[in-house]
Symmetry: none
Subunit: 414 residues, 2 copies
């Protein structure tokens, strides 16, 4: 079965935003065993949008359109899809009520154009939007289906995963089963070299590697007539990957993030955690607190961006700051110990570094970052030198801090 992605939005055509939705949908569709031969981007223009939908319907089984479902007159995706499929728009009372409640809850004033979002093509399957006002839609034409999703990634992604994926699974005659092996602490090219032979020999299951920030995800996918058969094809490969990557694998569960795996590990060991951040400035804490149910594990965090804050809140010594500078192994260690003492946590993570664009020197260039991890009385520290802009350096530092904490807790030399 083939799938085609159409992203709708002038802001993509103008290069205002990078089309991360397409990458997300493409990856998910590959995981579902759908073959994608075309992706396209069109603006909020009736003629061109209708033409794009018609062309796609002429060559693909499933169309996924993202964007253009907003309340404004610019937003035309639903109207164009209905037009091409020869369907009238009608008011959906359920969506109308949901929009009313959405606005009431927030004490916002509804304007006339909001009702536009409750208009749906006749016969459409309406998909509730839990993160916004525009409902998603599935329009069917014989065996073909046109899926409409709202453009904002925080609406599109959960709606696709929770509501569209089950629909697409049902449409597929073959059963696709895939497992995602998530690896940290190994670079993408090294990871690929380690499994070059497996990639070259792949047929069913297939193996695809995805480079994420400081992680590599390997998706093993098999097609078969039943889930049991597909699973039986996937399992030996996953076993082989586990043999090769050992402790670098932090999960084989698609939905588990690195921070979730770390929190699970802490919970299992009955350990609590606190953080002390300088250059990452809240990012490490934010990823940990993103894990639902973290409250029994996460104690508290300090963001000590200035030297004064490091001294006053964490007890970092003035002499150490003077002698070695704020971005040093010694200060990272004292931060980790200081926040452990202050909060009584079993494990702490501390970061200090130069995120740039200013503040670098020959001796300490932009991208120099120290991460210290305290585990029950022991403090370990690691030095990194990252590339990229401020945002990139902070993100990679955060990921590496979580990875280093995991490694220290594991206590193994991975």
């Amino acid at each position: 079965m083939t799938v085609e992605l159409i992203s709708v939005g002038t802001e993509i055509l103008l290069g205002n935003i990078v089309n991360t939705n397409a990458a997300f949908l493409a990856e998910e569709c590959a995981g579902l065993g759908l073959s994608c031969y075309y992706q396209s981007v069109v603006g909020d223009n009736e003629e061109r949008l209708c033409a794009a939908i018609e062309t796609a319907l002429g060559r693909s089984d499933i169309l996924i359109l993202g964007g253009g479902l907003g309340p404004t007159q610019d937003d035309l995706t639903k109207e164009c899809a209905a037009k091409v499929l020869g369907k009238e728009l009608q008011m959906d009372p359920h969506s109308k009520e949901r929009i009313e409640v959405y606005f009431q809850k927030r004490g916002l004033t509804l304007t006339e154009n909001n009702w536009k979002q409750a208009m749906v093509p006749e016969g459409a399957i309406v998909i509730d939007n839990d993160n916004g006002t525009a409902p998603g839609l599935i329009l069917e034409k014989g065996e073909q289906a046109v899926l409409l999703l709202p453009g904002p990634p925080n609406e599109l992604k959960p709606m696709f995963l929770n509501k569209m994926v089950p629909y697409l699974r049902k449409k597929q005659p073959t059963v696709i089963f895939s497992e995602m092996v998530k690896i940290c602490g190994v670079g993408e090219s090294i990871a690929e070299t380690m499994i070059r032979d497996l990639i070259d020999a792949q047929t069913n299951p297939t193996i695809a590697t995805y480079a994420k920030t400081s992680e590599v995800h390997i998706r093993v996918t098999a097609k078969a007539d039943s889930k049991k058969e597909a699973k039986a094809l996937v399992e030996p490969m996953v076993k082989e990957l586990k043999k090769r990557f050992v402790n670098h694998i932090y999960t084989c569960d698609e939905n588990v993030t690195l921070e979730q795996a770390l929190v699970d590990m802490l919970k299992k060991e009955g350990l609590t955690i606190s953080t002390a951040e300088s250059c990452t400035g809240g990012m490490v804490a934010s990823r940990l607190i993103g894990v639902p149910g973290v409250s029994e594990t996460y104690k508290s965090g300090l963001i000590t961006y200035s030297n004064k804050a490091k001294r006053r809140l964490l007890g970092v010594k003035s002499n150490t700051l003077k002698e070695f500078g704020a971005v040093s192994e010694q200060v990272a260690k004292q931060m980790a110990k200081g926040v452990a003492k202050l909060t009584g946590a079993d494990v702490t993570i501390a970061t200090t570094g130069i995120a740039g664009p200013d503040g670098g020197s020959e001796e300490k260039p932009v991208g120099l970052v120290y991460v210290a991890v305290y585990v029950k009385g022991q403090t370990m520290v690691r030095k990194f030198q990252f590339d990229g802009n401020r945002e990139k350096i902070r993100q990679v530092s955060t990921a590496q801090a979580l990875i280093f904490a995991r490694k220290c807790i594991l206590g193994s030399n991975i």
Copy 2:
């Protein structure tokens, strides 16, 4: 003049990589005054690639193709473009010599397939690649042009900027100029209603609205023969928008974020800031610390997720926690005051809320969030009820916390 982008690569179709080349090229083309109505992605497949080129030639003046110029048999872009334009491939002695030198310099062994990269369609303008082996190419067909670029971003970007832009400038007489007016504290539909008349009457300049998390961005774009003329068309419209949205506009600079505007405001007033976060757990701090040069303004932050941390680190009273609960106006206020006292900051932001998915009740549902802002002795608090998943609630809370802080500092009742 119109431009169309075709990205060639199976790795984009599979979602292995995000198509940042397209965003880069789109933005550069917009800056050159080229109208881009279509972007597409196709794999390394002769039939589909030829069809894509033919379709594009039928509707656009300039085609830019990225990727598929490598030395392997998979790489077909040049072959397909030549085929569609009816041109033969021939050896380019200049490119052949460059490839030889490239390999010699690096001590690499040339293989037979490397010569493939020196084959060019007859009559093509050959563009040297300073960062790799595949030359870029410009093929002309009457007034139309097909530009071929290598796929790796570190080859594509400099080649486009240094070699292709001058060619396109010569072809394109018109100049485009745009300004981005960024608004906070007004929803997208209300914002659009407020400028409905302007949108309806738009010709040159055009007006486009973009909904961001708790923000609305309005782009005003004009085309003219010179930058000066285009600017003169944009300016009265921006002035009109400023009149309508007054203090809700936090910047008219494309590159300035909400947090940057807040930090600039603090710097201008000579104020320092600290944060105390519960449900947002580091996100408010993280956005502020994302601003380069924030160190003189940001003092420190506390992440007090547990009640104990709120009491011990911020001095929130046990009685208050017992009587009103951690998610309450009273606790938010005490957090804001507590972190002000602890860190001596002039301004503080405090958040407490229920991010879910668990922890909600009828009285205090998931999505209930209080934000308190302390400004030089005065503490203000605002109650919000947000929808969505944990991630969404935390992101919106963070954005609204920054917006509320801005409002409190402005002291006006916007």
